[in-house]
């Protein structure tokens, strides 16, 4: 028996557990049956139908727009919070940064819904979704940034200061280049979180601003045709290529994420 035989067997089992369901989704996206209960025959018709689905396209655009805006702002605020937490060790900030990450998502969704409706009395829509996404993304960015800074030699920053650099110069010329992989990892992380978020968005989404996850949820609940499989397959292909691209150009980013 080879070394690690049982480990290999168990691991392959887990990998199968992870991938078989996704393979089923992909396979059934080519199924020529609206019911999609059993395999009937091969078709690419669901992709054609999908391409004509304006709602889906609109939802995808909304998702992208929201994710870009939210993750940009969250990266800026999160980087600030990360640096602040590392350098000044404030008391309250870590609590406020980490709690939204640590608590069940539904709580954030509920509290923001209450806040937007009862205090601000505003129309839910793009803005409310973006704000909600920023709120939970800040924590992830801050944690990544702080972890990155924690491993660094403080004397570099001191040296910059002794050379007469202003804080902004120190940041621009020393800190930023050093934490850049963390910043990019934070951005990618919040982008993924935002584009994937269902629970919080579910509570704070308004009329006409459907995101992809909401659209998929509605399709699963209401009209389950292989169109759902088709859009899932395309999304998987997209994330897969994004990850491969990232691992090709910036292998550090993936490791930073892990």
């Amino acid at each position: 028996m080879p070394r690690h035989f049982w480990l290999w067997a168990a691991t392959l089992g887990v990998y199968a557990f992870l991938y078989v369901p996704l393979a089923v989704v992909v396979l059934f996206s080519f199924n020529d049956s609206a019911l999609n209960a059993a395999w009937v025959g091969f078709t690419t018709g669901w992709y054609v139908k999908l391409a004509r689905n304006q709602d889906m396209l609109g939802a995808a655009l909304n998702s992208l727009l929201i994710a870009l805006t939210a993750s940009t702002v969250a990266t800026v605020l999160g980087t600030m919070a990360g640096i602040a937490m590392h350098r000044y060790r404030p008391r309250l900030l870590p609590f406020m940064v980490i709690t939204p990450v640590a608590m069940p998502e539904i709580l954030l969704g509920v509290s923001l819904l209450l806040f937007f409706r009862q205090v601000l009395d505003m129309t839910l829509g793009l803005f409310s979704i973006v704000v909600a996404h920023i709120t939970f993304s800040i924590g992830f960015v801050a944690i990544i940034i702080r972890a990155r800074l924690a491993g660094m030699d403080e004397s570099i920053f001191e040296a910059a200061r002794d050379l007469g650099a202003t804080p902004w110069q120190t940041f621009r010329r020393v800190t930023l280049p050093l934490i850049l992989p963390g910043v990019v990892a934070g951005f990618l992380m919040s982008f993924t979180l935002s584009i994937d978020d269902f629970v919080i968005t579910f509570f704070v989404a308004g009329v006409g601003v459907t995101t992809l996850p909401l659209q998929i949820y509605s399709m699963i609940k209401v009209a389950v045709t292989p169109e759902v499989n088709a859009v899932s397959t395309l999304l998987m292909a997209l994330t897969l290529s994004m990850i491969l691209l990232a691992s090709r150009f910036a292998p550090d980013v993936l490791k930073g994420k892990a």
Partner: protein
């Protein structure tokens, strides 16, 4: 702009562009009519020190405030609002009843009330939902540990070249949308007659949360010093003993952090029970969601949210206490 040139000269800044920014910043910080001296030897140590400290305070303020203000506005305040909402009546058409007059005439549902809490504590069924949710979360965590351990161990013991790929393979399914992964199980479990059962809920929960267990475990296992195992081998311990006496105890921190990453999200998850579960598979998350998006009973929903928060906090406190007492032992 006054004082511009003198400052930049004194600073001997690396580039003209930079010195310009720098001087502008200085000018903004010190709007005094006297030109600001640089920390040049002539200027006197005290003044330069003070200027520098003030600048540092400003920096601190500038980078701490924005995230702090944002999170106060959109996290802390909303959360306090949930607490407040739980003490109110539901409105006539849903939402919340008007708050004023605060005390309200008897028979009129305005102002503040403990009614929702009375409803909750008046019947043990609601506490049972919490217990059920904790059981599901615990079972999910346990299964995740059992499945994740061999994977993490194998990755940690694989040659370095292969590790990244193996980790990537664990994360990859996680990159597709949550609902897609749940939907996959609808397709699979339907013909197996397992859809709408508690098993389906647990399978779905495990599937969705597994990567959160593998990653911290792997990060932990990777750091173990192989010399320990070699030493144990030299002392005659077999594989099983080596695992239980060395690897496993050392990996406990990884198991704990992975468990936190799995347990807490499961508590609030409503989509999986809703899509995969049956009539008996109502968890706290579903109950909260229904109060807001079905029943229009916001006070009850808020109260349940608070109970969930308290439960999570208690759990976190317990974990922290356990960690501390363990460290105390060591």
């Amino acid at each position: 702009m006054r004082g511009c040139s003198s400052v930049s000269e004194a600073e001997k800044a690396p580039s003209p562009a930079l010195s310009r920014t720098l001087s502008r910043l200085r000018a903004r910080v010190f709007p005094s009519p006297t030109p600001v001296d640089s920390p040049a030897p002539l200027a006197g140590e005290g003044r330069g020190e003070r200027a520098r400290r003030r600048q540092q305070d400003l920096t601190k303020w500038a980078i701490t405030t924005p995230p702090f203000v944002f999170l106060t506005a959109f996290f802390l305040l909303p959360f306090l609002l949930v607490v407040a909402a739980s003490f109110r009546y539901p409105g006539e058409f849903g939402g919340l009843a008007p708050l004023l007059p605060l005390l309200g005439a008897p028979g009129k549902d305005v102002g503040l009330t403990l009614e929702t809490y009375r409803f909750f504590f008046g019947d043990l069924t609601y506490a049972e939902i919490f217990i059920r949710s904790f059981l599901v979360a615990g079972l999910t965590t346990l299964i995740c540990i059992l499945l994740a351990y061999p994977v993490a161990l194998l990755i940690a013991r694989s040659p370095k070249k292969r590790r990244d790929l193996m980790v990537l393979l664990v994360i990859l399914p996680f990159a597709s949308n949550l609902l897609i992964r749940v939907y996959a199980w609808i397709i699979i479990l339907g013909p197996l007659n397992l859809l709408y059962t508690p098993y389906a809920v647990v399978i779905g929960m495990v599937y969705v949360h597994l990567p959160f267990m593998v990653l911290p475990l792997y990060t932990n296992l990777e750091k173990h010093d192989p010399a320990l195992l070699e030493a144990a081998q030299d002392l005659g311990a077999n594989g099983w003993t080596r695992f239980w006496r060395i690897t496993f105890p050392l990996s406990l921190p990884g198991i704990f952090s992975g468990s936190a990453l799995v347990f807490i999200p499961v508590l609030g998850m409503f989509a999986i029970p809703e899509l995969l579960g049956g009539t008996g598979d109502i968890l706290v998350g579903n109950l909260i969601k229904e109060q807001f998006l079905d029943n229009r009973d916001w006070p009850l929903g808020s109260m349940l949210s608070i109970m969930l928060t308290l439960a999570v906090l208690a759990l976190a406190g317990l974990a922290a206490w356990a960690a501390r007492s363990r460290r105390g032992e060591a």
